[in-house]
């Protein structure tokens, strides 16, 4: 039987040991009236060859197009080593490392991951991952509220150009605990420091700085951090991890550095894969570690003084603290962390910085190319690896034309940020070639030349 090793003979022997007459009898404590599960609509079993055939066809349906789409998920090169190692059975099929002595591989790896993420963010400690960037952001807000020295403070000030996905997820996750997000003033695609004076900061637990922000623009992180901390608020940095190799990390913002950093780990070796699994990272100063949600691995020694690793500070977690836990999270995104740790080990500080620089250079090139199309402008600078492009016409039909030609042209900003007009968010990672960027320019010009296109057929 598929995946079940029992022979008829063994089943008979086992039932005899149990003293039961049949497999069915083993369910005799279930009220008979309930024992009926027709599973209507579930197809019959199919062998692996048959299932493979279906999946191969579905994977191939609509070949993926050249990707200038970012908006929270980025098309980076993933070294072959990453997944050849991460899918080794000993990583892939292990549980959460509760039995430390039988899980030193996973535990040491997480310790290394924590070290890398703490280093990248410039903070002291990192947890072992959260579900994704959006939930990490929400957990960071909750954490800030718990850690805030202002009793009852439940307000979080956020940039207007916070990722819409982060905003939506935070709304769903924070509502129950009565947290509220308030937008900061903007100007030129980023938070307007000049207008901060007028912002009310009563009841504010934390101020969020997103660097780069959702539009790809670089925020005045130093000024914002100092401003927020001067007003007794904690600072949460929401960051792109690739950018952290190039840009000043949260731990170094302003005079004292941000208190918490969070973000989406996908750029670190995780495939786009239609949106997941990715992972969220979360780091903080050591003073806040007891408010941190999620697992943390610590170093220790065994009876003979040999160094080893174990889950630590479990008293924060749901299986110990129950209603008072720092979060309900249990299963996290361990395998993704495995991949990211391998990715970061391969890239190293020099490699990761080169990735960041190449993304930035390519996006500059893209912005320059696209702005050569008539009526197209790139309003906001400096940016990291995404930029807003304003079109002379509505975005959606242009994107549809580009997609038909095999180009994912970017993210239509008009629903989330109508104030930006016909605005499109484009991204060119290190993966985009000069030819692909040029081809996008040509395709955009053609797509904008709608009457000509219509005439052509």
């Amino acid at each position: 039987m598929p995946f079940i090793p029992h022979t008829d003979r063994e089943v008979a022997a086992m039932l005899a040991t149990i003293g039961a007459g049949s497999l069915d009898e083993l369910f005799d404590e279930i009220p008979p009236a309930l024992r009926n599960a027709p599973l209507t609509g579930v197809p019959a079993g199919l062998n692996e060859a048959g299932v493979a055939r279906i999946m191969q066809a579905r994977a191939a349906r609509n070949v993926p197009a050249t990707c200038f789409l970012g908006a929270g998920a980025y098309d980076h090169h993933i070294p072959a080593v990453v997944w050849e190692l991460a899918t080794r059975g000993e990583f892939y099929s292990a549980y959460t490392p509760y039995q430390a002595e039988a899980s030193q591989g996973t535990l040491q790896l997480i310790y290394e991951y924590q070290s890398m993420m703490a280093g990248l963010t410039g903070l002291d400690v990192s947890n072992a991952s959260l579900y994704d960037g959006a939930t990490a952001f929400a957990e960071a807000c909750l954490m800030a509220v718990r850690a805030s020295r202002r009793p009852g403070a439940r307000r979080i000030l956020v940039p207007r150009y916070l990722s819409p996905a982060y905003r939506r997820v935070a709304r769903a996750l924070l509502k129950g605990q009565g947290l509220e997000l308030t937008d900061l003033p903007v100007r030129d695609g980023r938070t307007d420091t000049a207008a901060l004076e007028s912002v009310a900061t009563d009841g504010v637990a934390a101020v969020v700085v997103m660097q780069p922000n959702f539009l790809g623009s670089l925020e005045p992180a130093d000024a914002l951090t100092d401003w927020a901390q001067a007003r007794g608020a904690l600072v949460i940095g929401a960051c792109n991890p690739t950018a952290l190799a190039l840009l000043k990390p949260p731990g170094q913002w302003g005079t004292r550095g941000a208190d918490i950093a969070c973000g989406e780990g996908q750029p670190l070796g995780i495939p786009l894969a239609s949106g997941g699994p990715y992972f969220g990272f979360l780091a903080c100063r050591s003073a806040l570690v007891r408010q941190m949600p999620g697992r943390i691995v610590g170093g220790t020694v065994d009876g003979e003084g040999r160094p080893g690793f174990t889950l630590t500070l479990q008293a924060r977690e749901q299986h110990i603290r129950r209603t008072k836990a720092t979060s309900n999270i249990c299963t996290n995104q361990g395998l993704m962390v495995t991949a990211a740790t391998i990715y970061l080990s391969l890239l190293g500080p020099v490699g990761l910085r080169r990735v960041a620089e190449a993304c930035h250079a390519n996006t500059r090139e893209l912005a320059a190319t696209l702005s050569r199309c008539p009526g197209v402008t790139v309003p906001f600078r400096p940016f990291f690896h995404e930029a807003v492009v304003q079109l002379p016409v509505p975005v959606a039909p242009v994107l549809a034309r580009l997609a038909a030609g095999g180009i994912l042209g970017g993210y239509d900003l008009s629903a989330d940020f109508p104030e930006l007009g016909h605005a499109l968010l484009v991204c060119a990672t290190e993966q985009r070639t000069p030819e692909e960027i040029a081809a996008y320019g040509t395709a955009l010009a053609a797509a904008l030349d709608a009457p000509a296109m219509a005439a052509a057929g």
């Binding site: 309930l34 129950g176 997941g276 129950r322 299963t331």
Partner: protein, 490 residues
């Protein structure tokens, strides 16, 4: 041999630079004030060093692929490699989550079918695939219950009832949702104390969180009565489907009276646990809660598969992830379900329950104390080592460590909290009788050793890369990064 930290293998100027793009000149666009001035403390190692390091680390793990792993409540069964292989086809991996629907039909078709199959498996009316693990499924479930009451203007229902045996995520989830927890006791037979339940329900009751079979490894026989009590009080029933492996294809949570269910696909549907995740904690609901399901969901429109978002589902509790949860894990579950089919799913629970009851019988016959002796095991069961502990000082934890030396991963220890010195044992359906027998022998052998030489048992484990670790020190002398070792934080 200790595997040095990757940082210890690092040398400035070494690297695997084939993995990086060619360097570009510094950008005139970026002001120095925005740039990083220090070098982030990432390791500088060669590709071979990376391969060797992580290969060696992997070998220090116990895993399904190497060991019997009867970790109760975790359903550590075989993760078919076809699931991994097919979910990782290049054509799936290269897809951006925001690609146009017209491009994503292959993926959407899988997700749509998965929703349908999960409806059948739960006996529910609607499914959302987005929760990324059991705990997030719980969150979605409780949030929907809350939304339901609020939508009816019933703002007084701020209490969630939870049995004392419940998994920690249950009470923690209630808190995250802003609700209060009311704990009710379990009776000597492992069932919910119905009188206590009756006393607990009332106009403040938002709902109850239950798992059935419970974390005690027994089926809650009076589930229909429980449902009636809660429903009559105006509350709803939430089903923690982490233990679905016990009843898959035998009984539907919908038929038991539950209003909302989550299922850990990473348990019952055999997607891997990856050393801590990722998982998927899909939710299924009956008609009542259907409007509140988290988005995105997958529907059909004009003969094509399409995303259903806040626009189509205005009452939704909203989004729980940036995109569509752990899509890759959902594809793995799709493959697993398609391989098994309806009959294969029924076999899962039948043989999981057979293995558990066989192991229970053998351990009982060998003289171990079974926590609920009068009861059938579900897919898991509990033995208590309190007698042995009392007689020899050898605890459940000592047994756990001694099992490691015998090539078996330890069962869950000290959970559920109400049974002293307990081992929660879940063999799963994918283990062969021989391996179960070896496990019994190992426990018998450890018990004999405990009686003969307790100190020796307490010295376990000895064959693992490290011996028993000092947890207290780990929490007291916090060492959570390599940097902290080199320059201890102030």
């Amino acid at each position: 041999m200790r595997e040095p930290l990757i940082f210890e293998q690092s040398r400035a100027g070494r690297g695997a630079l084939l993995q990086a793009p060619t360097p570009v000149p510094p950008s005139p666009d970026l002001p120095a004030s925005l740039l990083r001035s220090d070098v982030p403390p990432l390791p500088e190692v060669s590709e071979l060093q990376v391969v060797r390091h992580f290969t060696r680390l992997s070998q220090q793990n116990f895993s399904i692929d190497t060991h019997f792993y009867p970790l109760g409540s975790c359903t550590m069964k075989y993760n078919p490699r076809a699931c991994n292989r097919l979910a990782m086809l290049p054509g799936f991996l290269a897809r951006h989550p925001l690609e146009p629907e017209a491009h994503a039909q292959g993926v959407l078709e899988c997700l749509f079918e998965l929703q349908e199959w999960l409806k059948a498996v739960t006996g529910m009316a609607g499914v959302s695939l987005t929760p990324m693990a059991g705990a997030q499924g719980e969150f979605a479930g409780v949030a929907m219950i809350d939304a339901y009451h609020r939508a009816r203007g019933d703002h007084a229902r701020r209490q969630i009832i939870v049995p004392d045996a419940a998994h920690g995520t249950n009470p923690a989830t209630a808190t995250m949702c802003g609700l209060d927890v009311v704990e009710i006791p379990t009776n000597a037979e492992g069932d919910v104390d119905l009188d206590a339940l009756r006393a607990a329900v009332g106009p403040a009751t938002a709902g109850i969180m239950l798992t059935n079979p419970s974390t005690l490894g027994v089926f809650e026989r009076r589930i229909t009565e429980i449902a009636a009590i809660v429903h009559e009080a105006g509350g709803l029933l939430y089903y923690d489907g982490a233990n679905m492996n016990a009843i898959l294809g035998q009984v539907l949570p919908g038929a038991m009276g539950f209003d909302v269910v989550h299922i850990n696909l990473h348990k019952t549907f055999s997607t891997p646990h990856g050393g801590g995740g990722p998982g998927a904690g899909i939710v299924a609901v009956n008609q009542r809660l259907e409007p509140f399901l988290p988005v995105p969901m997958v529907g059909q429109r004009d003969g094509r598969y399409a995303w259903l978002t806040e626009r189509e589902r205005p009452q939704s509790i909203g989004r729980l992830s940036a995109f569509m949860g752990n899509t890759g894990i959902l594809l793995r579950a799709w493959v697993y379900m398609r391989l098994l089919g309806a009959e294969g799913m029924r076999r899962v629970s039948a043989y999981a329950v057979l293995n558990a009851n066989y192991l229970l019988a053998r351990l009982r016959d060998a003289g171990f104390t079974v926590a609920y002796p009068g009861r059938r095991a579900s897919h898991e069961f509990i033995i208590s080592l309190k007698d042995v502990a009392r007689d020899t000082g050898v605890t459940a934890m000592d047994f756990a460590k001694a099992l490691l030396d015998r090539g078996v991963h330890a069962p869950t220890t000290y959970f559920p909290l109400l049974v002293p010195e307990c081992l929660l044992i879940e063999p799963t359906e994918t283990e062969a009788q021989d391996d179960l027998d070896r496990f019994v022998e190992a426990l018998v052998e450890i018990r004999a050793l405990a009686r003969r030489d307790a100190a020796e048992v307490k010295r376990a484990p000895r064959t693992t890369p490290v011996g028993r670790l000092d947890d207290v020190r780990a929490a007291k002398q916090l060492d959570v990064t390599w940097q902290s070792r080199r320059a201890p934080a102030a």
